[in-house]
Structure formats: C-alpha cells, structure tokens
Assembly symmetry: D2
Homo-oligomer: 104 residues x 4
Amino acid sequence: MGIHATFKVIPLGVGPSISKYVAEAVRVLREMGYKPVVGPADTSVEVGSLEEIGRILRRIHDTLTAMGAPRIITIITVDDRRDKDTPLEYKAEKVESLLSLKPL
Amino acid sequence: MGIHATFKVIPLGVGPSISKYVAEAVRVLREMGYKPVVGPADTSVEVGSLEEIGRILRRIHDTLTAMGAPRIITIITVDDRRDKDTPLEYKAEKVESLLSLKPL
Amino acid sequence: MGIHATFKVIPLGVGPSISKYVAEAVRVLREMGYKPVVGPADTSVEVGSLEEIGRILRRIHDTLTAMGAPRIITIITVDDRRDKDTPLEYKAEKVESLLSLKPL
Amino acid sequence: MGIHATFKVIPLGVGPSISKYVAEAVRVLREMGYKPVVGPADTSVEVGSLEEIGRILRRIHDTLTAMGAPRIITIITVDDRRDKDTPLEYKAEKVESLLSLKPL
C-alpha cells in the first residue's frame, strides 16, 4: 500500500545512446503487471511490497544483461508512506493544483 | 546545449507532507523562465549551462528556507550530452515509440 | 556476483536530525550479515543477489516505521557488474591509486 | 555554512570501466581547493555556497568531455542544513558512535 518506486536505469559499455535499454526496462515493468509512468529522466511504478523492488531489479538487469550490457547502474527512489495513501498519478496533479491556486 | 537537470527536493523538519514545498520549487523554476516537466517523483528542466544548476539550487533552497524548512536535501540528476541534441520532451516519447514498435 | 548497493535513507516527519535513524539502518545491515561501509551521505554493501535489496529495504523500513517515521524516502544505487569482480572496498582505493600516479 | 554535496559521475560511451574518469573528477575537486571524501559509490565535499555546485559540475564535465566522454550523467545529493553546522567528516562518525552506544 502506497509504495512508489522510481527507476533510473543506466547501462554502461553499450555506447552513449541507452533509450532502447530504457524501453526494455519499461516493457519488463508492464509485463510484470505494473503501470509505469515514464518521464524524461526515470520511470515510476506503484508496488505492493518492498520485496517486489528486488524482483523488479532482477528482471530488468537480467533482460539488459541478455541485451549485451556488461554493467548496469540503477538508481531507485523508494517513497514508502504509511500514514496516508496517495496514488502515484495524484502526486504531479497535487503539485499542479497547488501551483494553480497561487499562479505566477 | 542539451543539458537536462532533474530535481527531487526533500525538505526535512516540516512533517511528512512536502507537496507544498515541491510546488514552490516548481514555481521558482517557472519564474526563472524554465519549462518544468513535473513527474510523480521529481521535476525536470532543460538548462543552458551547468552553472545555472547552482543558481537554481540557490533560488529553490532560499525559497524553502523562507517557508520554514531547517534542512533541505535535494537530489539532482544532470544529463549532459554533447554528441546529440535531444529535447527534454522527446525522451519519454522515444521510449514510448520504441515500445510501440515491439508491443507486449 | 559483484553487486554493490548504496543506501541513502531519509525518514520524513521526524524532524531535521535523522542520524539515529541512519544508525538503525546500518545496524539492520550488520544484523543481516552485511559489512556496511558508512560514508557522509550514504552506506554501501556488497550483496549476493538483487532480490536481497528488496529484503534489506523491507527490514530497514519496518525498523524505521517502528521507531516512528510515518514516511521514508530511500535512494538506492545498484551497481551490477558482470564482466569483472571488484570488491566494494577496492573502488575508493582504485580511485586513490589512479590519483597518486598523476599527482596534483 | 554546512552545505554538503555528494557527486556520482557516470560517463557514458567510454566502456564499462569508469574509474579513471572518477579519479579525474576527484582531482578537479582537489584542484578547486575542496577536500573530497571518496567512497565506493560517490565523492562528497563541503561547499561554501550552492552556486559552487554549478561551477564544480562545469569543471568536472568539461574535463571528462576533454577525456572523450560524449555523455555524462552526474547525480548530486545536496544536503543544506541551516539550523546546525555539522562538518562532513563528522556525519559517518556520528552514526558509528550511535551504533557503539547500543552494540549488536
């Protein structure tokens, strides 16, 4: 309940263009049943437990290794809030709505 | 040219709900003339130089300090690519287009 | 093998001083049998599998929740290198040795 | 003032081994007069102002670009605390001392 995980996957040793690897990571997330929100710098999902994050990492890294990446650096941001349930999609909306209340 | 900076602002000492601080950080970015892309976990902008990142940090942290935050942890991801110019908005689109070429 | 995981644990809603929470996270890592390298900004361990990262997160977050943190943001950097085995302790040493070869 | 900045520099397009680039980044920090604390995953310094972070990024990225890196992703963690002055070296010590008070 209410755990958001954001993944930034950086394969090394495959050249400077990494979007096809990022796309495969997003595909893995979809195949696992998540609804990834893809942004310019990373991809967020809502997970049911912290253990799932380990399983997601395993699936993504195995996939990228099979594609030829000898080294993968992944940065994950976990937001685990237990006092309140905020859906993932609501977070950016909340910020936008706070901004519109007090416009520039 | 082509420098993307992604900001995750975490004020400490202001309770567990931080969206109003995040909204102010986004407002600062807009006031400075940037076009922030707000996601569930962070906010991205395209900047003209690496020095601008220092100036953005200064403006955001001063604003959040004035709002009462005694401590601010900000995580910035800088993506500085000099061999190719990719607009910020294009990154998520590129991933989506790679995914649609080879659907689930 | 050779998976390095670096944890930066940020409890929200507990005031601006978080070192006792960070210390408990390090204690959890030790209790689980890891040898944490504690730095000024984060703590690194060598893990045997990516799934372990999910189990570590679970143990740390449950401990910090029990201590009273209503929300926990954890940033994890995973470095998964499969072409070469570099012990965790060797990484900073390698950088230092490269620096000493070509001093200031 | 108590601003701590932690840099993780990841050059892309130069193969899976990046320690010589990391070493150059540390050298730049030393040349600029900082006292970098090198860890297994990143390097921390104490800075006098947030603007310095932009200037550091510029120097490091220009150096790594000159070494041949076509793309550089840098993750910076800024810890800006204004209610209390904690020296960088003291942070890991504080955690260790809290751990020793209540041993395993």
